[in-house]
């Protein structure tokens, strides 16, 4: 499932170019945007999508944010679990409320 998200995130050619530059090593947004045919805000937007897909991570370095490919692939595991728990907990909520309604219905 995480792979599907990763694939969707990489389907955009510009985003793929951003990702490929990070594959060579960590970079701050400013340096990433240099040499790209799109604006810095656009690069930031692409990074946001890549981050949500678990493909890259970021961290503060002084006043800058440095982006890099998640070195352990933990981002993918996390992204998978995050969506998985959404699904499981929604099922839990539905079951609790169904049972609560049922027991209310049984009251005289």
């Amino acid at each position: 499932m995480a792979n599907n998200l990763a694939f969707a995130a990489l389907a955009d050619p510009t985003r793929r170019a951003v990702f490929e530059r990070l594959a060579d090593g960590p970079l701050p947004v400013g340096e990433l945007a240099e040499g790209m045919p799109v604006s810095r805000p656009a690069v930031s937007q692409h990074l946001k999508v890549l981050k949500e897909a678990g493909l890259v991570t970021d961290r503060a370095q002084g006043a800058r944010r440095v982006y890099q490919i998640d070195p352990k692939g933990l981002g993918q595991i996390r992204a998978w679990l995050d969506r998985f728990w959404d699904e499981a907990l929604e099922a839990f909520r539905a079951e609790v409320e169904r049972e609560t309604q049922d027991s209310e219905g049984e009251e005289p």
């Binding site: 990763a6 694939f7 990489l10 389907a11 050619p13 793929r16 990702f19 490929e20 594959a23 090593g25 960590p26 991570t57 961290r59 890099q68 490919i69 998640d70 070195p71 352990k72 692939g73 933990l74 981002g75 595991i77 996390r78 679990l81 995050d82 998985f84 728990w85 959404d86 699904e87 499981a88 907990l89 099922a91 839990f92 909520r93 539905a94 079951e95 609790v96 409320e97 049972e99 609560t100 027991s103």
Partner: protein, 157 residues
């Protein structure tokens, strides 16, 4: 540049229309009634998902071929307010008794028939500790290359 990245814990908060007692009961003894049937480990389809009551209680599944798969065990059992369960299923979808991630759930009464659930799955960085993770790390660069190659093939980039 080589500092370890620690993935943030997964946190979910929501309310359910039920008392904390009911919510705790359904989450634990009623575990099998809501756990998605699509999510199980092992080769055989899921028959029953079980969360045994009490500290040390087993969290496991029974399968149609009669086999059982351990998932983890109960660390904190404080009904109806608090539950912590160790999730010991690795990212390779196998049980690893040495893997320690925690699923922590608080049940807080916020109304006559309303409970806030504060859910947290933490310790995710430990997925990186297992032996298989070393192989995963080693294969990462190759993996990305393959993903990108298949993309280029599909998209024509």
């Amino acid at each position: 540049m080589s500092q370890t990245i620690k993935p943030a814990a997964i946190m979910k908060s929501f309310t359910v229309r039920a008392t904390p007692e009911k919510a705790f009961e359904v989450f634990t003894r009623g575990f099998d009634r809501w756990w998605p049937r699509t999510h199980f480990i092992g080769a055989s389809p899921l028959k029953e998902a079980v969360l045994e009551p009490g500290v040390g209680g087993r969290w496991f599944s029974r399968h149609e071929d009669g086999s059982e798969q351990m998932w983890g065990d109960v660390l904190v059992w404080d009904p109806p307010a608090h539950l912590v369960v160790a999730w010991r299923i690795s990212h390779e979808w196998g049980y690893d008794p040495n893997l320690h991630t925690e699923v922590d759930v608080h049940f807080t009464k916020v109304g006559a028939e309303e409970t806030r659930i504060d859910f947290e799955h933490r310790g995710l960085e430990r997925f990186g500790d297992s032996e298989t993770a070393d192989k995963t790390r080693a294969g990462m660069k190759t993996g990305w290359d393959l993903i990108l190659q298949s993309f280029k093939a599909v998209v024509g980039g």
